[in-house]
């Protein structure tokens, strides 16, 4: 049997580790990131997860192909550095691959989490058989990954695919990233909840108020989806608003990339056709006909495993990694 990859999905809230071989995932290990404790503490939690997975599986570190980490943020894949990660406070130019490789005698790879999910959806999920595909994850924020000629497109320094930070409104709201009117500020789960709260605070009646027992701040995409199913006007209008911005973002991507497929994942994508149908309609109405007729816009298929599966596929495609200053 080929050696598996020990894959990580490192998010702002939780860490998922597992052994991955092709699309098979075993020995899943969930833990909390405790991002507020800072980079060094989080790295220690990663070490502990490595040790647990090895112990559970009975494997020795030398029996791994590699460790591969899908991380939120702007990742320099060339040298394994997290340059910036808005949901991981204090992570600026952290040489994560090197730090792991100093402790464990194994190749370590690092890539953006949405890029990893794009790779997985292309290889084993909704994008199978396409040559040019875009993956978008709509969740608390919005991330993306670009498949060109069947490979992840990384750009000059591994940062390509920051689709959530395409501006849809040059004079729009400020984004955490420093830009204005980013798709992330207008079409994410955060934007969805914000719109519903704004409407309720403005006096509109909604089932949502009762669902969170009046604690408006607790409204999330999940409640909005449930309320929309019951015909709640505030919920439906809020979804339509972010679907509209998502659609405008998709038009731009369709005109620029002329892709065969756009795959939409992430927690907000669980809204399903309520989100995708109006977005598709906007693409049909506004994108170039040549481009609109070429593209399918579909939901992702791999769910929460996409990041770890993609990280493993990515690692299998790379040359063994040696960070510049490794021991």
């Amino acid at each position: 049997m080929k050696p598996p990859v020990l894959s990580f999905d490192l998010g702002g809230t939780k860490i998922l580790a597992a052994l991955v071989l092709n699309s098979r995932v075993e020995f899943r290990d969930y833990s909390l990131t405790h991002a507020e404790e800072g980079p060094q503490a989080v790295i220690e939690y990663i070490f502990k997860a490595i040790d647990r997975v090895l112990k559970e599986s009975g494997l020795d570190i030398t029996q791994l192909h590699s460790i591969s980490i899908a991380s939120a943020g702007a990742i320099n894949t060339k040298n394994g550095i997290v340059t910036l990660s808005p949901n991981l406070p204090g992570w600026q130019n952290i040489p994560l691959a090197e730090k792991i490789q100093k402790k464990y005698p194994v190749s370590v790879f690092l890539l953006n989490d949405a890029n990893a999910a794009a790779i997985a959806e292309h290889r084993y999920g909704a994008g199978r058989g396409t040559r040019h595909m875009i993956y978008i994850t709509v969740s608390t924020g919005i991330g993306g990954g670009i498949i060109i000629n069947n490979k992840i497109y990384e750009g000059a320094s591994g940062g390509a695919g920051e689709i959530g930070h395409m501006s849809l409104d040059a004079k729009g709201p400020k984004c955490n990233c420093g830009n204005t009117g980013c798709m992330e500020t207008l079409a994410s789960g955060t934007a969805l909840a914000k719109e519903a709260k704004r409407r309720i605070k403005g006096g509109e009646e909604s089932l949502l108020s009762g669902m969170v027992k009046g604690k408006i701040e607790k409204i999330t995409g999940k409640e909005i989806g449930e309320a929309a199913e019951k015909g709640d006007v505030v919920a439906i209008a809020s979804i339509n608003r972010i679907a509209g911005y998502l659609g405008v973002g998709l038009v731009s991507l369709v005109n620029i990339f002329n892709p065969e497929m756009i795959v939409i994942g992430g927690s907000v994508a669980k809204l399903g056709e309520r989100l995708l149908s109006p977005a598709r309609q906007i693409v049909r109405e506004r994108a170039y006909p040549l481009h609109a007729s070429a593209v399918k816009i579909v939901p992702a298929q791999l769910g929460d495993d996409a990041g770890i599966i993609g990280a493993a596929v990515y690692a299998m495609q790379q040359k063994p990694f040696k960070p510049p200053t490794a021991l």
Copy 2:
């Protein structure tokens, strides 16, 4: 000597034809498109240009490598069809390559004009030595071409690179393409002239009024550039406005593509640093630092020959073309 390509640059106003071998251009032939006469008439003008270049050069059609046409519009490169071209009235699904090939026994290639210019700038111009490069032409409209791994990225049907039809303002002005707030409506030469006219009609004093002898409608980017050189406030403010939108568009492209270089060509790019400097500043301020530090934003170098040179390079890279229904 290798056989040359008979290259065309087919625009809404004029047709440039020439023999091209690598970056050498000979027997340039300029004629008017007479786009208002419709596709069949324009195709006849193309035939006449072919005949003139062959006669002038003393070459026989069989001595050509191919005919290659850089055309404005959304081009299906797979089957040589102009699917839509806003500046060529009536051009909808015109099988241009096939029509030429029915008359001349030679391979015929067709691609978008900005894609051709991107290829040329990458091979022989400002983008030499880069691996991932974006070309933008800012002129009456805005077009683009994307170089990935040293090759033009064409997408599923040859339409990739419609950068001018990325929306910078989801609720912005309607674009000819059917979308709203496209970069083309906010940062093109047309947008520049419109802004200057708006200011003058609103009562602002400007040298521009005198330069066009009060005929405000005659103001173009050329006069605005000249007035800006003389310190004219309306001209400078108008340039700053489109530079601002150009900058916002560049931020999105930098975040999405993480390119090594963005090359800016087209007639409006002749404004030079007045346009590029504020746009670059916005990229430095708003794009991800990982991405902003990787990209150079520079003027194009090949001028009006970029389209025909790129069309020739493209033809040399293709397999001989047979449209599906050719004789």
